[in-house]
């Protein structure tokens, strides 16, 4: 019997390896998630670099010559002064400049007279880079204000510190983790989505597709147990899913290596250990995914109907992961019993290079395998039904 299971498996692999659609789903689609993430990383890092005081920031200033004291201070704070073109408001609106600082003609005179000198900032807070730049500029100007204030008060013999009821030190607990690393949380849901997507075309093609082509009935007349036919097809779909996940992990690794700046946790993430860990904990979920696909493809009447249901399927298991992007939780034992959720947590730990509890991996793997086996048994049971040749 196992020889025949292999014959069915080998036929389905060969057949689908010749199918552009199956290959597209297994080899090209998995790269879309990593590519999307790569684009997001490069966008976010360019935005963040504007807000980072260690990086030099370009500031467009209209009337820079009117306030040499101020521009000198700005330059000392790692801000490069650039002349602002014609209409500052239009330049900001069109995104040609993040913010524009306008220094009026009478600035120097008022400043030297120790009077309040007016300046104007043009910014567009609806754009993230604009917001970051505005934030940084406001911080630097606040410092300038305070320094001048302190200087003027000390001349009058007033203790400046006594006039400062609050001395604010904010501590960022994200120390050591750059904001880009938050995007790492996108990786698990993308893998889960891919697990439920990778073999889907093959699952439909070998069941509803085979029925619709009229090749299922003659196949069933061969001296092979029906569960054997189902198993051969199942294993072929499982292989395509595994290939899709492997391609995706390779693409993630390539993107991380390309995007990660030295010192970022990206460069070291997804080493051989992490990849092996993800593949091992993903395998039971792949079985579960293909099991669900086979059940749906067997009970639906047509290729199109199966495609409708199975096209939406990957979104459901990816959902918990998407929620975790915004509110991460600590992995606990009971969570490991929930298929897809446990893998989301484990993938996250592997990707971020955190310590992963082997007990958690064992619980997740065995719980999901158990569910997967039940699903495979149900699918095999559906293959035994007389209705198989008609669908429904």
């Amino acid at each position: 019997m196992w020889r025949r299971v292999y014959i069915v498996f080998a036929k389905e692999v060969m057949d689908n390896a010749r199918d552009r659609r199956s290959l597209l789903v297994a080899l090209i689609y998995p790269m879309l998630g990593p590519a999307l993430l790569g684009v997001m990383i490069s966008m976010v890092s360019s935005v963040l670099s504007a807000g980072n005081s260690e990086n030099r920031m370009d500031l467009h200033v209209a009337g820079a010559a009117n306030g040499p004291q101020l521009t000198a201070y700005l330059e000392s704070r790692n801000i490069a002064i650039r002349p602002a073109g014609g209409d500052p408001e239009l330049a900001v609106k069109n995104g040609q400049a993040e913010v524009v600082l306008i220094i009026p003609d009478d600035f120097s005179r008022r400043f030297d007279e120790k009077r309040t000198a007016e300046i104007k900032i043009i910014a567009d807070s609806s754009r993230l880079p604009g917001l970051f730049a505005l934030n940084r500029l406001a911080g630097v100007l606040g410092e300038f204000n305070r320094q001048v204030w302190e200087k003027r008060l000390s001349v009058l013999g007033v203790d400046f510190m006594g006039l400062r009821p609050l001395d604010i030190h904010s501590v960022n607990v994200a120390a050591g983790i750059s904001a880009i690393d938050i995007l790492m949380f996108m990786v698990p849901p993308l893998i889960i989505f891919n697990i439920f997507m990778g073999g889907v075309y093959l699952a439909i093609d070998t069941t509803s597709g085979e029925r619709e082509r009229g090749s299922l009935e003659p196949l069933l007349i061969n001296p092979v147990e029906r569960w054997g036919l189902m198993l051969g097809k199942f294993l072929a779909a499982l292989l395509f899913t595994g290939v899709a996940v492997a391609v995706q992990l390779a693409a993630f690794k390539a993107i991380f290596d390309m995007m990660g700046s030295p010192g970022s946790s990206f460069v070291n993430s997804l080493d051989a250990r992490a990849v092996a860990g993800i593949m091992v904990s993903a395998l039971p979920l792949m079985m579960l995914a293909v099991g669900v696909q086979f059940i749906i493809a067997t009970v639906t009447r047509s290729f199109k109907e199966a495609q409708t249901y199975l096209g939406l399927l990957p979104l459901v298991p990816a959902m918990p992961g998407l929620v975790l992007v915004f509110s991460p939780v600590e992995a606990e034992g009971w969570m490991m019993t929930i298929p897809t959720f446990s893998q989301t947590l484990l993938f996250g730990q592997f990707v971020r290079g955190e310590a992963v509890s082997m007990l958690n991996v064992a619980i997740s793997t065995s719980a999901t395998t158990l569910v997967a086996l039940v699903l495979v048994a149900i699918a095999a049971g559906l293959y035994e039904r007389e209705k198989l040749i008609f669908g429904g």
Partner: protein, 245 residues
């Protein structure tokens, strides 16, 4: 040899078979004819193991089609009504796939495939993918894969439908040859000329029952008609059922 006794099968409220019984002996071509929806396909499906009867039995070489399913499947070659191919596999690969599922392999299998390609005149398209095959080419491939394991019993549902004259004749010759080797052929057709030409005996099914049986000569004599078409209309009352699925 195929023996069918008192087969009954219904789908929800529709009675497809209402006590059908007949025998298709070895060394004989038995024609199974009847109007659309008479229950022919359902009877064949029970014999070739993809359906179970509600009651009654079907046996192939004495083996029960429900209880000895695997053994029966080894002894039958079937050209079912639905005979789709895999568009991305070549004709040769189709035959090889079925041959391997029947436990054949190596030079023996390859030799048998070449033999069938020769017999059915498939040389021209044997190594082409089935995606663009004509109806006749599809039929030949389906026939070749049904014959690859040299089955003792052959069940053919309209084997020449869609074939040109030369190919039809080749199939007829093949059926006679198989019969002369002492094997059993059960044959469904709507073409009375074909039935008259190759069937040794005929079973007429109508409304889920056997309406008449005998050699073509006996049936003509029984109904007093001059040709099989007239006989067929007389026996079935021009009926066209609706029970077939």
């Amino acid at each position: 040899m195929i023996q069918v006794e008192n087969l009954r099968k219904s789908f929800n409220t529709v009675i497809a078979l209402d006590g059908v019984g007949f025998t298709a002996p070895d060394g004989h071509v038995t024609g199974l004819i009847g109007p659309n929806g008479a229950g022919k396909t359902t009877a064949l499906r029970i014999i070739y193991t993809v359906m179970r009867p509600d009651s009654g039995t079907a046996t192939v070489d004495g083996l029960n089609t429900v209880h000895d399913r695997r053994q029966v499947q080894k002894r039958i070659g079937v050209l079912p009504d639905s005979r789709g191919l895999y568009p991305r596999l070549t004709a040769r690969e189709h035959v090889r796939y079925y041959g391997r599922l029947h436990g054949l392999n190596g030079a023996g299998l390859e030799g048998r495939i070449d033999e069938l390609i020769g017999i059915l005149g498939m040389e021209e398209f044997a190594d082409r993918r089935a995606g663009g095959f004509s109806k006749g080419q599809v039929r030949k491939v389906a026939l070749a894969r049904a014959l690859v394991h040299r089955p003792q019993n052959l069940l053919l549902d309209e084997p020449t439908n869609g074939l040109d004259i030369a190919s039809s004749r080749a199939v007829h010759a093949l059926i006679r040859e198989i019969r002369d080797q002492g094997r059993c052929v059960l044959f469904c057709s709507h073409i009375m000329q074909e039935v008259a030409a190759i069937c040794d005996s005929i079973v007429v099914i109508s409304k889920g029952r056997v309406a008449a049986r005998g050699t073509p000569g006996e049936l003509l004599e029984l109904t007093g008609k001059e040709d099989l078409e007239e006989m067929f209309l007389a026996v079935t009352g021009g009926a066209s059922g609706s029970g077939e699925q």
